[in-house]
Subunit: 142 residues, 2 copies
Amino acid sequence: MKSGLGIGALAKATGTKPETIRFYEQIGILPEPARTAGNYRTYGTEHLRRLSFVRRARDLGFPLDVVRAMLALADQPDRPCGEVDDLVLGQLREVERKITDLQRLRDELDRLAHQCRRGGRMADCRIIEALSPQNADMERRP
Amino acid sequence: MKSGLGIGALAKATGTKPETIRFYEQIGILPEPARTAGNYRTYGTEHLRRLSFVRRARDLGFPLDVVRAMLALADQPDRPCGEVDDLVLGQLREVERKITDLQRLRDELDRLAHQCRRGGRMADCRIIEALSPQNADMERRP
DNA sequence: ATGGACCCTCTAGCAACTGCAGGGTCAAGG
DNA sequence: CCTTGACCCTGCAGTTGCTAGAGGGTCCAT
């Protein structure tokens, strides 16, 4: 009668939804838990640990298959730790790439936002024009 | 025999794949084009303009429903231009929010990456520990 | 007339969930 | 004892923005 969380309790404890937990079970991220007589799932502390890990990693943007790989490594205590570090560094590079991409994007949107003299009509909207790039050049040049 | 691009030609001209063009047609982003006797789609310059616009907007990260809204506005030349500007500004704020989120993320991953003294074994991997937030504190303190 | 490149429709799949329908279970209150 | 309401179960459809495949038809050059 000590441990044994229901799916709702586990959900609350980890900030997940029950549906998501069932989903993780379905795709093999979480192992199948025991069931009560009434077919309810019951979870123990190991499930709590594992799900907390998964959620934290997902918050940090790791895709599920990378999370899966990390879990597999964590389950093999003799493997070198560097493999996990590689996954983290990969994710770090990924995030840095996204940041630079988005910064370029922001600059362009910023430029775009200045094209509009507010109060004009669509007919001479510079934004729409600016977003239709090459055809203005290509069509008038046969 | 003058204009009339096939779907492949339009695809090449806009850096899109034929499948994507058909998809855009299916969801109403592009209007249904005329067909040849053999049931091939034929596109004119208006399609080219429209698709170029869509692709450019997508490149800038606008989701398809926003693109749809911009197209609807562009089709009404007497509407005020400010509505499009609002969509652009909304997207700009969205991108800026993503940038700050990712920067926080990067800092955390950076911290995480320094936890690894390379050469260790999984059994005492600080990264895994750091990713299991509460239990590291709760269970490692008997 | 035959080969290959192109095109057609329809369907299923990706990530990572979310939400719903149509049931079953359980503990507490009347 | 029975009912109510909160929870749980399975299974499946939907989300976003495409992409890929099956299984066929068309077009054009040789």
